[in-house]
């Protein structure tokens, strides 16, 4: 009798383990599908059009690119608050070097990416070698870099860029897919590959999961840290470049609170804030969900004040779902 109940218990435990894993992996898909379904019902004419779906992916792209970098950092057990400021600085620098007839096309591109990676690297040095908590290093960097963006731009937007620069984000592939979306796809593909198919990816998980055992198993934890912050900075530089191209100007105030949207996308996607776990496709869904909510509510003409409330509620709900899945 006793043995029997123990067996039943084990079976139930296994079952609930299975369902919890299912919830953890795919719970967010239900939320996503639910939001999509609701918006399609509320606004069948405008929301569900193919053109609008492409529009949503386009609007998710900048945040999606940032979120991919943020994902590496969070899986490794860190956080990067500086990405929004990096978007502003690299955007301003790129636009400054993109005036017609001054520098070759590649100069602003290389500068934006290089500067982003450099700032990320400095974050990494602070975290890995300075042993300063990531929250503090990147918070300080966020402020410094925002100041630099204002200094470089003398406090005003930088405009007057070449047509080629405008095309970095504005051009289309096969006349329907904006290049912005292509960058998002490429970054996603590369991130997924790095995370799942390389030794480096496994080490990022290991460092975030348990730093001590990662160290004992011979992983150079400091180097992994350096790498994830550099990746995040590099992708923030890319985001700054494409945002400057998209808005045809470099704005020193651009990117404010973008780090929060990137973190939100990662968390909604089920990546644990304490590091060590999370999947790339979750982050993609997270970025898409944020864009869908913004787009749908704009189309329904909901005041931006309510949009903030709704967005925040969905983030908390998504994490609640995620934690519930893990606790079982």
């Amino acid at each position: 009798m006793r043995r029997n109940s123990r067996e039943v218990g084990a079976v139930e435990q296994a079952k609930s383990l299975q369902s919890s894993r299912f919830m953890r992996e795919f719970g967010i898909l239900f939320v996503f599908a639910g939001v999509l379904g609701a918006l399609m019902l509320l606004s069948p004419g405008a929301f569900a059009r193919p053109a609008n779906l492409m529009n949503i992916i386009k609007q998710a792209s900048v945040n999606g690119i940032l979120a991919m970098g943020m994902m590496f950092v969070i899986i490794s057990g860190g956080i990067d608050l500086s990405v929004g400021s990096i978007v502003a600085l690299t955007g301003v620098v790129a636009a400054s070097f993109a005036h017609p007839g001054e520098y070759p096309f590649l100069v602003p591109v290389v500068l934006a990416l290089g500067l982003g990676a450099l700032i990320g690297l400095l974050n990494g040095v602070g975290v890995a070698y300075g042993n300063i908590p990531p929250f503090i290093v990147t918070l300080g960097m966020m402020t410094i870099v925002r100041g630099l963006a204002l200094i470089v731009s003398k406090g005003s937007p930088v405009f007057g860029v070449t047509a080629a620069f405008e095309n970095i984000a504005g051009a289309f592939v096969l006349e329907v897919v904006p290049l912005l979306v292509v960058y998002f796809l490429v970054v996603t593909g590369a991130s997924a590959f790095l995370l799942n198919k390389t030794v480096f990816g496994r080490r990022v998980y290991a460092v975030g999961g348990n730093e001590v055992s990662a160290r004992f198993s011979g992983i150079d934890v400091q180097r992994i840290r350096l790498a994830v912050y550099t990746i995040s900075g590099l992708l923030a530089g890319l985001a700054g470049l494409v945002l400057a191209s998209r808005t045809v100007s470099g704005n020193p105030t651009a990117g404010q609170s973008y780090e929060l949207d990137a973190i939100a996308a990662v968390i909604i996607g089920g990546v644990s804030m304490s590091g060590g776990s999370g999947k790339w496709y979750g982050t993609v869904i997270g970025a898409l969900l944020i864009a869908v909510i913004g787009n749908g509510l704009d189309i329904l003409n909901v005041s931006s004040h309510y949009q903030l409330v709704i967005k925040g509620a969905i983030i908390i709900f998504a994490v609640l779902l995620d934690m519930k899945g893990k606790r079982k």
Binding site: A46, V93, G114, L150, P157, F159, T230
Partner: protein, 323 residues
């Protein structure tokens, strides 16, 4: 892994050397004291309290005040309130205890700055507000600036006439509750009262920002709303709207209006892409502000309100404004 890192490191180091030029440009064109040979006047210090220093408008405004201070041969210190009313109040207190000859405030908040104004008056230091009226304006010695309602009316009247008095319009608003947003939007509705056939289909804030306006207008255009015009509280948002409309190839149907006469908006007006922008004569406001506080501090009488008027800039007169 090692190789990749090495490449990244090398790349970033090389680049950091390369972009040193960009980041090391001195930005501090304002601030600090002016040098003057007239000993008596060069002792006079004035404080300019700006709400923030992060856009074309505030940079032009503070630059104009600085230019006038140099011309008058007095010292000027510029304080950056960073959008924080508490910070602006403490900056005012600093200016008061430091014994400045006069204070100009471009307020962060139309209500919140009252304690600073009261404190300056109690200390016998002249204080005026520039660009934005405050709720208790009678407490200050003078107001120098534009009337945002007038600016909004001029912008909307231009749009309404271009629309032939009928059609659908969308408004892009500044941060809700800011003086510019409230006044300019009030101006829009004052004009709409005279045009019963114009319908406002969208009205939403984009917080003065180009990227927010771009996203918002992209989404509006998805609904197939048959817009004739988009009227924006400032040029930054108008430029975002312009990009969205041009991307959707609707520039022949939807005309866009801005306000501020920023350099990029003026260029767009010249190219015939932006229908019009409105100048709030920022430089004039700054110059007059400095002149007014100087007069008060040196015992001259000034009117309680000095209003600088808005001007419409469209393709016919844009040439006069492009520097």
């Amino acid at each position: 892994m090692k190789g990749m890192l090495a490449v990244l490191l090398a790349l970033t180091l090389v680049l950091s050397a390369g972009c040193g030029n960009a980041t090391e440009q001195p930005a501090d064109s304002v601030g600090n004291g002016a040098e003057s040979r007239e000993a008596d006047l060069s002792d006079q210090r004035y404080a300019l309290l700006m709400s923030h220093m992060t856009n074309a408008f505030t940079m032009e405004m503070s630059g104009a005040v600085k230019a006038k201070a140099d011309e008058l041969g007095v010292q000027l210190t510029i304080f950056d309130g960073e959008h924080d009313v508490a910070k602006q109040i403490s900056q005012a207190e600093t200016a008061i205890t430091q014994g400045y000859a006069g204070i100009m405030v471009e307020p962060v908040s139309v209500d919140g700055i009252k304690p600073a104004v009261t404190a300056a008056k109690a200390a016998g230091i002249p204080i005026i507000t520039v660009n934005q009226r405050i709720t208790d304006q009678e407490l200050a010695d003078a107001y120098v600036g534009a009337n945002p309602v007038e600016g909004g009316e001029l912008e909307m009247r231009t749009a309404a006439e271009d629309m032939g008095g009928k059609g659908k319009v969308a408004f892009l608003l500044g941060p809700m509750g800011s003086d510019g947003q409230i006044g300019r939007t009030k101006g829009y509705y004052n004009i709409l009262g005279q045009y019963g056939d114009i319908e406002v289909v969208y009205e939403q804030t984009a917080n003065w920002k180009t990227d927010e306006a771009l996203k918002l207008v992209e989404n509006w255009l998805q609904t197939g709303a048959d817009l004739s015009a988009i009227v924006a509280n400032n040029d930054g948002m108008a430029m975002g709207a312009l990009k969205a409309v041009e991307d959707a190839r609707l520039q022949d149907k939807i005309k866009i209006y801005g306000l501020d006469a920023t350099p990029d908006a003026l260029a767009a007006v010249k190219e015939g892409r932006l229908a019009a922008t409105i100048s709030q004569s920022t430089t004039e406001q700054g110059m007059l502000g400095m002149e007014t506080i100087f007069k008060i501090a040196n015992g001259e009488e000034v009117p309680a309100e000095i209003i600088v008027h808005h001007t419409l800039i469209d393709k016919d007169n844009v040439g006069e404004y492009i520097k």
